[in-house]
């Protein structure tokens, strides 16, 4: 279904694109989608890459709207998935439900398809008079949907608002009233085109007509007003939203940006703190706005605020994207009298910054954090709601005594995971090679496996297993137990120097941890202690990548800052860490 609607819109769009120039349709829809609270992924920005030598960058943060044609498809696709898309217009009168649930769903789906068919009506280019509208309406497949469909396509094709106005006039004259949905759609069109006076008018009308408004209209009003010189009205609207519900983060984003644009930095910071207090995660755009608008200001309180933001990035292990990084850099360099210099660089495996030769923080946890993490792993991951789900109390006890008697290990290996490294080879040979390879570097090895490895089979030869057991300690769990939890426990119990080997990302175990603080600790510990098989080595020999020796977070020593950042062009997974860094240092004049 999605495919169908997609392609049919596509054809039309392509046609329109050829015939005349108009505002990028994807952009309008993006705005529309956003205004109705449809979540949108991090905004993608399209900047050309600047080399590290350039200091002053000719960047205009407002000029990011030029979308390359290639990207448009992705954006379009995202917007098809709004939560209320599929059930948005259910008119019971038109539907004939059959008895079973599946059939009803199918009906709804069919309806959506037909709605998309309607959605390809082309809006007129100039205002029409009432007669013309009614004629158009008559010729439309289902006249009762006409206005709504027409407004949707007006928003899609960004028609001039005069056309929309003429339709509203027609509706008002024939019905004596205009429905709320049409008013909101008209409002969306006004916001899309930045018609401030119209937005104010709409606000008055809506205010008189309805006691309260719903979130969609508020979103549109706040967005529309915050971009105009009436931006203070957006703040009062925000207050109004607060009375009913928690404002969305995009509401705050618009207000903070507006305040920043008018150099009301204290207000912007207040809003930012309010947002954090409500457990909303600020968008990177908000942070960028704060940095952009306080450029060149000498204000120690504000400076403290912005350092606070950088520490927020550190604590939550957020990596800024390139545009935000650039804003941070420019802000630092613009602080009067402090003489900051920023450089873009890549940090080597040793963890030394090539620009200022500063050694980055290592990824060790503190004693307290370490103990905390260990206890939480035992409590949440191994025991969880029911110890029997992953192991059994007897088995866990046996494992604990086993580990205590042989402490400490230097490396703990997930035997079954490693035995699948090369699918062509026999499993026990894979493991054998890995153990041999690791035994060179580490003295005390622990291999975790399951009992079925002990029965002589084509994959697990008894002789090889015997030989391995001379080189490393082995623990065999029950066949239905989970060995990953044991892996974590044994590594954490052995101490900070101990590493572990598995290709597993351990995401399911991380998800068992109940609060985000511990999850961050876990990620940090994982980055520093997990050794991964290197796939690039290929060939016959097994090679391992060392764990990251430095901690990949925003960090400072007072007169230097090191900030890792993401390149916007390459997709980053959550487990990948950025290799690119911004190095900022304060240069004191020697003369």
């Amino acid at each position: 279904m999605a495919l169908f609607s997609q392609s049919c819109q596509y054809g039309l769009q392509a046609l329109l694109w050829k015939s005349r120039v108009f505002w990028p349709a994807s952009r309008c829809r993006q705005l529309f989608a956003a205004s109705f609270g449809i979540p949108k992924r991090d905004k993608v920005s399209y900047f050309s890459f600047m080399t590290s030598s350039s200091t002053a960058l000719p960047v205009d943060p407002q000029g990011t709207d030029a979308c390359p044609a290639k990207k448009r498809s992705e954006i379009d696709y995202e917007e098809e998935k709004g939560w209320d898309e599929d059930t948005q217009e259910i008119h019971e009168g038109k539907l004939r439900f059959s008895s079973s649930g599946g059939a009803l769903k199918k009906q709804l789906m069919n309806h959506t398809v037909s709605r998309h068919k309607f959605a390809t009506v082309q809006p007129p280019e100039r205002p029409l008079c009432a007669e013309e509208w009614s004629r158009l309406r008559e010729s439309f497949q289902s006249p009762e949907l006409f206005e709504e469909v027409m407004f949707n396509s007006m928003i899609r094709y960004n028609s001039p608002i005069d056309v929309a106005k003429s339709l509203l006039t027609h509706v008002a004259k024939s019905n004596g009233d205009i429905g709320y949905n049409l008013l909101v759609k008209y409002l969306a069109l006004c916001v899309q085109q930045g018609k401030t006076s119209e937005i104010c008018d709409m606000y008055d009308i809506l205010k008189i007509r309805f006691k309260t408004l719903e979130s969609g209209a508020y979103n549109l009003l706040i967005r529309g007003l915050s971009n105009s010189d009436q931006w203070r009205m957006a703040l009062t609207l925000l207050e109004e939203v607060k009375r009913v519900t928690v404002p969305s983060r995009s509401n705050y984003e618009s207000c903070i940006k507006a305040a920043g644009r008018h150099q009301e930095m204290t207000l912007a910071c207040e809003l930012y703190h309010e947002m954090l207090a409500k457990d909303l995660v600020p968008t990177l755009d908000v942070l960028q706005a704060l940095f952009d608008h306080s450029r060149g200001m000498k204000n120690s309180a504000l400076q403290k605020e912005l350092f606070g933001i950088l520490l927020y990035l550190r604590e939550n292990q957020v990596y800024p994207h390139k545009t935000l990084m650039r804003s941070i850099k420019l802000w630092f360099e613009s602080i009067p009298g402090e003489n900051w210099k920023g450089h873009l660089t890549n940090i080597k495996d040793s963890g030394q910054c090539p620009v200022c030769s500063h050694q980055l923080e290592d990824s060790e946890l503190t004693e307290e954090e370490y103990n905390n993490l260990r206890e939480r792993i035992i409590r949440d991951v191994i025991h969880g709601t029911d110890t029997f789900r992953k192991t059994s109390p007897q088995e866990f006890e046996a494992f604990q005594t086993f580990v205590e008697n042989r402490l400490p290990f230097d490396i703990v290996i997930d035997g079954l995971n490693i035995s699948h490294i090369m699918p062509r080879k026999v499993q026990c040979e894979n493991l054998f090679e890995a153990v041999n390879c690791l035994a060179k570097d580490y003295a005390r090895l622990l291999v975790l496996g399951r009992k079925h490895m002990l029965t002589n089979s084509s994959n697990w030869k008894r002789e090889v297993m015997k030989e391995m057991q001379n080189k490393a300690d082995f623990f065999f769990a029950e066949n239905i137990s989970e060995d990953d939890a044991f892996l974590l426990y044994a590594t954490l119990r052995s101490g900070k120097h101990c590493k572990f080997v598995t290709r597993d990302f351990l995401r399911d175990h991380k998800a068992c941890l109940s609060d985000s603080v511990t999850r961050h600790l876990f990620r940090k510990w994982q980055r520093g202690h997990q050794i991964v098989f290197s796939s690039s080595a290929g060939g016959k020999h097994i090679k391992f990548l060392p764990a990251c020796s430095y901690d990949c977070v925003v960090q400072t020593t007072g007169d230097t800052w090191h900030i890792p950042y993401k390149d916007t062009f390459e997709e980053k997974y959550s487990y990948e860490i950025p290799r690119k860094w911004l190095c900022l240092q304060q240069k004191y004049r020697t003369t």
Binding site: S99, L128, C129, E131, T169, Y180, I208, G216, T245, D386
Partner: protein, 414 residues
């Protein structure tokens, strides 16, 4: 007051109309190149010069005009309660076209406000909305049926003729008696089947409701079967959520049900070596249905996938476990391997009567599998691979090679 209001509206409309006529001539200034692609009727309209100019802001006057007096009445109740405010927001959402129910009760509204997050609220509203739609369409269908029945009755009453039937008509009450007789027999001689009711703490209220519904369905199909099980509800606590939900479904009949309900564990009632816990997570696969074993089914619906909950229960008690041989008999397509309780009941009943896996596994939902396995496994895998390759569009040479490997030479050479 209202009449005056209407009058005012009309006046405004008229004035707007005349205003638009006065400015009609401006219309010709529109450049001719911007003709419409819309429909032929408009084009011909365009050529007529006598059409009037549209007043674009007339609608605003209409919108504002009827409101002077409305705004006075609105301003009176300044402080509205949270419930009323929520009700109004819902109404507006409905107008915008979101999935929101038309009518909402006080309790539902409270539940809506207490939802922990915005997405939870949306989901709850959508649930209510769909429920309302189902209810409406059912009601409509009932009405239609009644009408049809009335029509046929009218037609039949004219040509009424007493019918003679040699058989006594079997009404449902007598059918019930026959069924109950069978179930009562099974309670003495039948094979026990245990529903383990110890999972309440793992489920949300809605999941418990779903579980109970599934159990009610399975009890129904057990009662109607030729050779019913003797159903046990074990670990059943009085006044638990389960209990409340059961009362909702059965009402007075709950105490007359021909099943055994106990708060004891099955390990206390039956010998341990005879018990088999059925769970999809079990490493062991069931080969045949054993008439001497007592099978246990966990009464749990887990929408947020909690793997290993029932396996953990079996492990704790040291019971034998088994999973249905779904992989062995079905070409699994998609979906989880855990089945609903009524599907389980159908499968077990069929197995008990016939021992035929193919017949029993007919009750697995069709969307979950592609077909039955009737060729040796490795051949099927080959064809599946081939299909996947065609789907993915691998390189043709590779495909040909695969094809040549799979099929004997004489076939390809022809």
């Amino acid at each position: 007051m209202r009449a005056a209001n209407m009058l005012l509206k009309k006046i405004v409309r008229c004035s707007a109309f005349s205003f638009s006529i006065q400015h009609g001539m401006k219309r010709d200034l529109f450049p001719l190149s911007r003709t419409l692609i819309l429909s032929p009727c408009l084009k011909e309209d365009n050529s007529r010069s006598s059409s009037e100019k549209v007043d674009l802001d007339a609608w605003k006057k209409v919108m504002k005009s009827g409101l002077q007096d409305v705004s006075e009445t609105v301003s009176e109740p300044k402080e509205i309660s949270a419930l009323a405010a929520a009700r109004e927001t819902l109404e507006l959402w409905r107008l915008v076209g979101r999935a929101v129910p038309e009518k909402i009760s006080e309790e539902q509204l409270k539940a809506f406000i207490e939802c922990p997050s915005k997405s939870a609220q949306k989901k709850y509203l959508k649930f209510l909305h769909l429920k309302e739609l189902y209810k409406k369409s059912n009601k409509r269908k009932m009405d239609e049926k009644r009408e049809r029945r009335l029509e046929t009755q009218e037609g039949a009453s004219e040509t009424e003729e007493p019918k003679k039937n040699p058989f006594v008509c079997l009404w449902s009450s007598s059918m019930d008696k026959a069924y109950n007789w069978r179930v009562a027999q099974s309670m003495i001689f039948g094979q026990p089947l245990v529903f383990d009711m110890s999972y309440e703490k793992y489920m949300s209220v809605r999941e418990v409701a779903n579980t109970v519904r599934q159990i009610v369905l399975s009890e129904g199909c057990n009662r109607r079967s030729v050779d019913p099980f003797h159903i046990h509800f074990c670990n059943f606590k009085d006044d638990s959520l389960y209990h409340k939900e059961f009362i909702k479904y059965y009402r007075g009949a709950w105490d007359k049900l021909l099943i055994t309900v106990t708060d004891q564990c099955y390990t206390n009632i039956f010998p341990k070596d005879k018990l088999v816990y059925l769970t999809a997570d079990s490493p062991k696969v069931m080969k045949t249905f054993d008439h001497n074993k007592i099978y246990i089914v966990g009464s749990i619906v887990d929408k947020s996938i909690k793997t290993g909950v029932s396996l953990a229960q079996a492990k704790r008690l040291g019971l034998e476990t088994a999973a249905l041989p779904l992989e062995k008999y079905l070409l699994w397509n998609s979906g989880a391997k855990n089945l609903t309780l009524d599907q389980m009941m159908h499968i077990l009943l069929t197995l008990k009567d016939t021992g035929d896996w193919k017949k029993a596994l007919e009750f697995v939902p069709k969307r979950k599998y592609c077909g039955f396995v009737n060729k040796p496994m490795h051949e099927l895998k080959k064809t599946l691979n081939l299909i996947n390759m065609l789907k993915l569009g691998k390189r043709p040479e590779e495909l040909q090679k695969r094809f040549a490997n799979n099929y004997p030479k004489r076939l390809t050479q022809k």
